[in-house]
């Protein structure tokens, strides 16, 4: 008869991933690649925003894009047309990326000569918030048609991001979207959050967004 005993582990399930994410952040720092994790719900304009961002910054830095989706390669094809280095990751039904999947994506992409990588995470406001990808900074997009109540519904996501882009600002007049209410709700959850209204379609606010990226990369290099 085997003798069983109780062995305490007391370990958070996210701990392994958190450690791995810290490790990946260090690796990226050594390789001088700044990784931005871009999150949002489906249809918020992530890919169009990525295209605009590449356009604004491609003359001054080497840009790579990791496109994460459950299936298809439509986003990667679109982004590849800009000339940026891009790789499509299939999560195979998984609703988020973790640090190890991100590392594999970066290996596949190849970060040699790449200063700035955008990780376009799976369109989802829930799970990606819980899994540290190892990114240097976290960004999210909330688009006007989604409604101004999203910070109330997905507080964790709003609490972990460094910057919030409010996209499709050009159509705000057609929606009951209270910009001030969103700012107040987001700041209540995350007092340090930077909020930039943009329109990836018209290009409004893209300068400010590109400047935010430049400044953050500069700060990161000096750290």
């Amino acid at each position: 008869m085997d003798t069983y005993k109780i062995i305490e582990i007391k370990q958070s399930v996210f701990e392994d991933n958190n450690k791995d994410a810290d490790l990946l952040r260090e690796e990226l720092k050594k390789g001088k690649t700044f990784l931005l994790n871009l999150m949002s719900s489906p249809g918020s304009g992530k890919t169009t925003t990525v295209l605009r961002t590449i356009e604004a910054l491609k003359e001054e830095m080497g840009i790579g894009v990791l496109e994460a989706d459950i299936d298809s390669d439509v986003d990667a094809r679109t982004v590849a047309q800009t000339g940026a280095k891009v790789i499509q990751l299939h999560t195979g039904g998984m609703c988020h990326l973790d640090a190890d999947m991100t590392r594999q994506g970066l290996l596949g992409l190849g970060t040699e000569g790449i200063d700035f990588v955008i990780l376009e995470n799976v369109g989802n406001l829930v799970c990606p918030a819980e899994f540290d990808t190892g990114a240097s900074k976290n960004a999210m997009i909330l688009s006007v048609p989604e409604g101004d109540d999203k910070p109330l519904k997905y507080p964790l996501m709003f609490s972990i991001v460094d910057v919030l882009l409010i996209n499709k600002i050009d159509v705000i007049d057609y929606f009951d979207f209270d910009l001030e209410a969103v700012k107040e709700r987001a700041k209540k959850i995350n007092p340090n959050i930077k909020i930039i209204p943009i329109s990836a379609r018209t290009g409004e606010g893209i300068d400010e967004w590109a400047n935010w990226i430049r400044t953050e990369i500069k700060k990161w290099k000096q750290e």
């Binding site: 069983y4 005993k5 062995i7 305490e8 370990q11 392994d16 991933n17």
Partner: protein, 113 residues
């Protein structure tokens, strides 16, 4: 539905713990899940058999303990359960509170030899 991916991570962690500590049989795995975490115990139980298939934990029983989602009211300092009280302080009806516990998702312990 992200439980399967997460349960697979749990299994990996427990397997490596077992290897490091020279354990050969794991009778029971005990997880603690907070009421406010995004993990749904029912789904964890549903995908568990698929996740342990072919691993050291193939015959391991799964036990889940639920931790309450409690908060302290910033106005009157009352400690209350957020779910039962609809996210509102039952003594002063304030919505200004701080979470004390309930977001956890822990591997508490294993019963093994």
């Amino acid at each position: 539905m992200h439980e399967l991916g997460v349960v697979i991570e749990v299994i990996k962690t427990v397997e490596s713990f077992a290897q490091q500590n020279g354990l050969t049989k794991i009778d029971t795995l005990v997880l603690q899940i907070g009421e406010l975490s995004s993990m749904i115990p029912k789904y964890i139980e549903a995908c568990y058999p698929a996740a342990v298939d072919g691993t050291l934990l193939q015959d391991t029983r799964l036990k889940i303990e639920i931790l309450p989602g409690n908060a302290i009211c910033k106005k009157c300092n009352k400690v209350f359960n957020l779910i039962k009280n609809n996210m509102v302080c039952p003594s002063c009806t304030s919505k200004d509170w701080e979470i004390l516990c309930g977001r956890e998702f822990m591997i508490k312990e294993i019963i093994a030899c």
